[in-house]
Symmetry: C2
Subunit: 204 residues, 2 copies
């Protein structure tokens, strides 16, 4: 089939097609939108994408994402946050989800993934030694394991639990509660969720 | 709520959030993906977006999208394509959809939208005078009206039909067939589609 679109448009479609979950049709829609956008808006997007990796780095203590000119995460450095309470998450974006609740006043530790033998990710690829070091350095009292409610998240939580006990660190370990999400009817809840909800029932 | 993400990441999320149908969560996912991409890939995307509008222009005859260094659409200039058969479409990307069939050997005319009083788009904003001029210049024999199967597309088709007749141009007018799409069960076809399918039935 002959080339149907201008080369520059094809190029943008190809580039946007690399984004996760973006197929050809979606990429075409995005590219066509950009073609009708103001040039200064497109330049602004281009500049932001080009400088992203140089302007963002990883905090060497918490492994959260920070500005390139910061030394450690500002959440970690905040005197109002409790360093002795640490929530362990898989990915940097999980921090946003927890911060949105406005209920957590501790600090975070990003593992950088979850144990997944299928994807070739073992515990040695996660920031676990750095977590154990923090537990000692900051005299951490409680670790909330906030990995995902997936098979990988559960495996990682189990591994962490054993590993921290084996390391001989005195610390309270907890895990985010499992149960029926807000707004979901009982009849639509799956069996495993309902089992968790029963096991985790609270006295009134 | 305090700033949770590095400024450069927030910026990319904001910029990508302008794309059609992209909410905050999707933009976050895209931005996080870009953060883990190779820098040269991000620079390639940035460059493609920045130069898109300068490298693409509109064909002055067919209103298809063309390279900035072309004078008219190469489909229009192709000696193998029949200039006396014109498919009229709403948007430039509709051309790709029709070309993918590999069945159309005529040329195209892009209207630049469809008549939609709600959006303030009247026939005077569409490339209709240029179409009428083409009908005469190229001695067009048939116009296939290939506007969308929406209310706006139908209104535009009706308007075109009347306008071309009023202009006194001798030309055969046709419209894409309406009916049951391939792979769809009769019981799931909507009433209007089924009505069209009945009306347009073919003798065997």
């Amino acid at each position: 089939m002959a080339r149907l679109l201008p080369a520059a448009l094809e190029k943008v479609i190809d580039e946007l097609g690399r984004l996760p979950g973006v197929g050809v049709r979606t990429a075409e829609r995005y590219a066509y939108y950009l073609l009708r956008s103001q040039q200064h808006n497109n330049e602004s997007l281009a500049k932001a994408v080009a400088s992203l990796k140089t302007d963002v780095k990883t905090c060497p203590v918490t492994f959260a994402l920070i500005n390139a000119d910061e030394t450690v995460s500002h959440l970690y450095n905040d005197p109002d946050r409790n360093k002795q309470l640490v929530a362990v998450v898989e990915e940097p974006l999980d921090i946003i989800a927890l911060e949105r609740t406005g209920q957590f006043k501790g600090t975070y530790h990003v593992l950088g993934g979850a144990i997944s033998p299928i994807d070739g990710i073992g515990p040695e690829q996660l920031h676990i030694p750095e977590l154990v070091k923090r537990l000692e350095d900051d005299e951490v009292e409680e670790v909330i394991i906030a990995t995902n409610a997936s098979v990988e998240g559960e495996s990682t939580a189990l591994y962490l639990q054993r590993h921290i006990k084996d390391a001989g660190v005195e610390v309270t370990l907890s895990r985010l509660a499992r149960g029926i999400p807000v707004g979901v009817d009982l009849e639509y809840a799956d069996q495993i969720t309902l089992t968790h909800a029963l096991e985790g029932r609270r006295l009134l």
